[in-house]
């Protein structure tokens, strides 16, 4: 039993705790303790990882452990982490933590809500610590299923429709993925599904030609790649706050992470040959999402489309197939995770007070609920890439990296992707101007409850994290770029 499995074990223990807890107080206690433990765990793992690397351990994955699970099919349970997983674990812990506090007073059925929520986090953590295709896929599925119930039961608006659409589309993606993973396993001829082992083998190029698109699209659906992104607006719009946070903040990162770790890492030749198709698709995502966000009137739709744009940038950068752009992609995952979670948290909290998410029905909120107003502006500024907030470093790393590709095709696409920073500014400022500034639209909005302590805790944590990544990017960037190296060597083969 490797200590990494604690990341899965703690949420499992939280679930048990929830089973025996009798009232809201106990539920809150269990969730808060668990979430804090997870944050401490990920901080500890980060520290251990960095010391291990500083001590000169150059293995691709550290702290690996492998247990045979079902020998006849070579199914192993294997875990291990590199800098990218560490970054993602940190992100997940922060989001899980803030999500708990954002849904502190969830009603009805708090116990059941948190049960599913913990199960969801098992899936998320498990995905990031696994180095085995099967384990990875299993956790991926674990993360998808609770989503349906969380949205369908605790959501708002057209929740059944949203939940069904989100789950079915993601399941469709995972069907492609399953074919891809099995194909990779059989074509590689490896004796286990361990990624580290498969990468040593050579998958025949003909097989790569169909396995790469399958895998990339499978993960791409989760990463909201055009044209498989439409689950995102509907799903997010109907999801409860914490679920939107966790979903947009972490689950969508599973897509990018998977594309990087499975599709590109294991099938480098096909990645070189076929990247242009997906570059065009993700390039479209970036601009298309941003343009769509301009005309939306529902806050959650705006943020969902902006996620399409930002996550498009993640996949876009991964497909540039060079170290800087890939580092930027991971930083963008981190940065987008934090700021989109902040956005969804704030939208949920504002919605809880104004009972509307339509920007046409709100106005002048800055004066009434200044805490949320200021936080929303900060989130907006992070989203449009203000230096010292996380968005800037991530986007700049991506753009500088993408520009290293000298041919006209890549260059033009990069410049097109760059235009998203202007379009982002347009929709962010439109929202801020409409809902926060100006005169109060609705007289019921003249007296709204101020932020409670748990809401403040949740929002402030995210803001601090955004500032931390944005103002001191050097350590996180070097940690990630070291871990991107194996993929680069693989691509150079």
């Amino acid at each position: 039993m490797n200590f990494l499995s604690l990341f899965v074990l703690i949420p499992a223990l939280m679930m048990m705790g929830l089973f025996v807890s009798k009232n809201r107080k106990q539920i809150q206690f269990v969730m808060a303790t668990g979430a804090i433990l997870l944050v401490i765990m990920s901080a500890a793992v980060t520290y251990m990882y960095l010391t291990e690397r500083a001590a000169g351990n150059l293995a691709t994955m550290l702290f690996t452990a492998d247990t045979v699970w079902y020998a006849p099919f070579n199914i192993h349970y294997s875990v291990g982490i590199d800098g990218i997983s560490v970054a993602m674990l940190l992100l997940s812990s922060i989001i899980v933590f803030t999500g708990v506090f954002a849904s502190w007073k969830i009603d009805p059925l708090p116990k059941e809500f948190f049960l599913w929520y913990s199960l969801l986090s098992i899936g998320v953590y498990g995905f990031f610590i696994s180095v085995d295709l099967f384990t990875m896929f299993m956790y991926y599925e674990i993360a998808l299923i609770p989503m349906y119930l969380l949205i369908g039961v605790w959501g708002s608006g057209k929740k059944e429709y949203g939940a069904m659409k989100l789950t079915l589309m993601l399941m469709g993606g995972s069907a492609l993925l399953l074919v891809g993973i099995l194909g990779i396993y059989y074509q590689s001829g490896a004796t286990s599904m361990n990624i580290l082992e498969i990468c040593k083998t050579n998958i025949p190029i003909q097989a790569q030609y169909y396995l790469f698109p399958l895998t990339f699209m499978g993960f791409g659906v989760l990463g909201a790649m055009f044209p498989f992104h439409t689950w995102s607006p509907d799903g997010h719009a109907s999801a409860p706050t914490a679920v939107s946070m966790l979903h947009a903040g972490v689950l969508m990162k599973l897509g990018g992470y998977g594309c990087f770790r499975v599709a590109i890492y294991l099938m480098p030749q096909a990645a070189h040959e076929l990247s242009w198709i997906f570059l065009i698709l993700t390039g479209i995502s970036v601009v298309y999402g941003a343009f769509s966000a301009i005309v939306q009137t529902d806050l959650k739709y705006i943020n969902a489309y902006s996620s399409v744009s930002h996550c498009g940038l993640v996949l876009f950068a991964i497909l540039m197939l060079n170290q800087t752009a890939m580092t930027g992609a991971v930083m963008q995952m981190l940065s987008h995770g934090l700021m989109t979670a902040l956005f969804f948290a704030l939208i949920g909290m504002i919605y809880g007070r104004t009972h509307t998410r339509l920007i046409t029905e709100m106005g002048g909120l800055m004066k009434i609920i200044p805490f949320f107003g200021v936080s929303y502006v900060i989130a907006g500024l992070a989203s449009l890439g203000l230096p010292s907030l996380s968005g800037f470093v991530a986007e700049m790393t991506i753009f500088v990296g993408s520009f290293q590709e000298t041919d006209t095709f890549h260059r033009v696409l990069t410049i097109v992707a760059c235009t998203s920073i202007v379009i982002t500014a347009v929709y962010i400022l439109r929202v801020v101007g409409k809902i926060l500034y100006g005169a109060v639209q609705d007289k019921h909005h003249e007296h709204l409850d101020p932020a409670t302590w748990y809401e403040r805790l949740s929002v402030v944590t995210l803001i601090v994290a955004i500032f931390a990544v944005g103002s001191a990017p050097f350590w996180i960037s070097s940690m990630i770029s070291d871990s991107v190296m194996p993929v680069i060597t693989q691509l150079a083969k």
């Binding site: 230096p387 202007v422 500014a425 100006g438």
Partner: protein, 634 residues
């Protein structure tokens, strides 16, 4: 010179303290903190300037000092963003300009903003702005500059939108941010181009004159143009956005929605000259590797200058007149850079541009603060609500007059010297350019005195209560800046700032000076005739040239073009169809998959009737069928 770090860091600390400070404290505390910090860093900048200009000259050439720098983030083997402090003549000069004007504005605001809601927020934003602007000018590399460039843009956004309950202020702040952001896109792509080929962001390396840095750019072209033209042209677009060059100037007049001291600091003296500063910073690169772009800059500058000057002649909002005058004067600085060469005498334009930047910052801040004082007294921005104020506000009147004389180019005020150098440089470039710029100088004198007479002379307007002179905290900055304006022209600027960092003795070109002073006096005389007393001449002129007057009053419809592009094209022709396409094509396809599945299952649903007997019947038939099949096959 480690202490220069404090100059940048103190405003940041002040921002953080003011931003997080409890709102229960008295607002004055915020003002005092802000002004004190500014006082300290102003002092530090003066010390820096003194120390730098007296002790850091080696063989008659100023050295470039980097007292400190740290690596902030590393992109590739070569490319990394450093945060550091670069001291060279122009950055030291900018330090002095920014801290001085900022200090004056901080003091002025103590009284001007007194009693405003959000006083503390105001001072926090001012500190943020000062921090960002100082970080921008001392940038050691182009990416650090871009970073602070964005921060400056945001502080400007926040300050323009200070009165956030006023829709016009919100719209103006949004416009300012988006237009400059669009320009920044150019800047960013330009940086990407430049850094990819030169493998560096560092100003020291870029401007060292080392040809090997640019070796890989020779003969490389992208979509038909050489990469250096792309890079430098795009970078200039960034500068043009911040410095409000045509056609990206539209945000600046609207930015006057912000509090007046903010207009003085950001939209007159410091931020808007960032574009000029950027071009000056990269001047050696422009001059050698993209001379075509440099000439383009000259023409853009000249056109903008003329364009803005014409509009300024007919505006009635006093802050807008000043805004257009700012655009026009920045045009002068750009032209000067554009026509300049490298070296001692060839670099006259460069020196003149920086000189004008310096003097303009002082007298334009003075003009804006004066206008603020007037607005404070009469509670209106409109010219025809003013008139005859000289009796009530003597200090404002005199300081405003000094500033007007300076901007009009009357000796011995500072504007005369700097403008004269620019005109000389233009005449050397080409007589046409010189002629045009002299004409614009004449226009400048005309509209400034139109403004002056309309405010302080002319027919007295009925006021609700008698206008009064401003209190000490507002009067002091006016007097201080007026003194600077009087003496700044005598600074031997060529000893401090030149294109090649060496000494250059300024000589007045008496022909040029004579012409420009003559034109200025003529224009002032014209303005005096037309506006000193109430007269029918302006109205007559307006009706004679009705078309031109109307076009200029509506700022030549550039805003309408923008609104057309944003509303009609981007919003209605791009975004709305995309959103429609997303909902009705892409999403409908996805829903379509679900629909087809549902349809199919509803078709085959009747098999599952729930009637046991029907199942048994089908079962029986199936059994018989299989039995028959088995029988016949065998």
């Amino acid at each position: 010179m480690q202490y220069t770090l404090l100059i940048v860091l103190l405003p940041l600390i002040s921002f953080i303290v003011l931003g997080l400070m409890d709102s229960k404290w008295k607002p004055q505390v915020a003002g005092i903190i802000g002004a004190t910090v500014l006082g300290i860093i102003t002092l530090l900048s003066y010390i820096t300037a003194f120390e730098y200009f007296s002790f850091h000259k080696i063989n008659g050439v100023y050295e470039k000092l980097i007292p400190m720098h740290v690596e902030w983030i590393r992109f590739t083997q070569y490319l990394h963003i450093d945060l550091g402090i670069l001291l060279d003549p122009i950055s030291v000069m900018m330090l002095v300009v920014i801290t001085t004007v900022s200090l004056m504005v901080n003091i002025y605001s103590l009284s001007y903003m007194h009693g405003e809601k959000g006083f503390q927020r105001y001072y926090a934003f001012l500190s943020l702005f000062t921090f960002s602007m100082l970080g921008l000018v001392v940038a050691t590399n182009i990416f650090q500059m871009y970073l602070f460039w964005e921060l400056v843009g945001v502080s400007s956004y926040l300050l323009i939108g200070f009165y956030y309950t006023k829709p016009s202020a919100v719209a103006a702040s949004k416009k300012a941010f988006i237009v400059t952001r669009f320009a920044d896109l150019g800047f960013l792509v330009g940086i990407l181009f430049l850094s990819f080929y030169t493998k560096t962001f560092d100003f020291g390396v870029l401007t060292s004159g080392n040809a090997s840095v640019f070796a890989s750019t020779t003969g490389v072209s992208f979509m038909g143009l050489s990469v250096m033209s792309w890079a430098m042209g795009l970078i200039f677009i960034g500068g043009a956005g911040k410095s409000a060059m045509f056609p990206l100037h539209i945000w600046l007049p609207d930015a006057m929605e912000g509090p007046t001291p903010v207009s003085a600091l950001i939209h007159a003296a410091t931020m808007v000259v960032a574009g000029v500063y950027l071009v000056a910073r990269l001047f050696p690169v422009y001059e050698v590797y993209a001379p075509d772009v440099l000439h383009g800059i000259a023409y853009v500058g000249a056109f903008t200058s003329l364009f803005a000057a014409v509009i300024a002649c007919v505006q009635t909002d006093i802050k807008r007149v000043l805004a257009f005058s700012t655009i026009s004067q920045i045009g002068f600085m750009m032209v000067a850079l554009g026509v300049s060469g490298y070296g001692s005498h060839e670099g006259l334009g460069y020196m003149a541009s920086m000189f004008h930047l310096f003097t303009h910052a002082m007298f334009k801040a003075l003009l804006f603060l004066g206008a603020g004082s007037v607005i404070h007294a009469v509670h209106s921005n409109e010219m025809n609500h003013m008139g005859g104020l000289r009796k009530y506000m003597p200090i404002t009147n005199w300081t405003f007059l000094i500033a007007c004389l300076a901007i009009a180019g009357i000796p011995p005020f500072s504007g005369f010297f700097s403008k004269d150098e620019i005109l000389s440089a233009c005449y050397e470039f080409s007589p046409y350019m010189g002629g045009v710029m002299t004409f614009i100088a004449g226009l400048t004198a005309f509209y400034m005195f139109r403004l002056y007479f309309n405010i302080f002379w002319g027919k007295e307007h009925k006021h609700a209560h008698t206008p009064h002179e401003s209190p000490f905290a507002m009067a002091f900055p006016l007097v201080f800046l007026a003194c600077v304006t009087v003496v700044a022209g005598f600074i031997p600027f060529g000893h401090f700032v030149t294109s090649d960092l060496a000494n250059y003795d300024i000589h007045l070109d008496y022909t040029v000076a004579g012409i420009s002073v003559g034109v200025a006096i003529l224009s002032i005389a014209l303005a005096t005739i037309m506006y000193r007393k109430e007269s029918e001449v302006p109205k007559k002129l307006a009706t004679t040239f009705a078309g031109l007057h109307k076009a200029a009053s509506s700022r030549f419809y550039v805003d309408e073009v923008y609104i057309f592009i944003t509303k009609k094209i981007i919003f209605n022709l791009i975004s709305t169809p995309i959103a429609w396409f997303d909902r009705h094509i892409i999403d409908a396809t996805m829903d379509g998959f679900g629909g087809v599945t549902q349809w199919t299952s509803s078709r085959i649903k009747s098999f599952q009737s729930g009637q046991v007997q029907q199942y048994a019947y089908v079962f029986l038939l199936g059994t018989l069928f299989i039995a028959a099949l088995v029988y016949f096959i065998h």
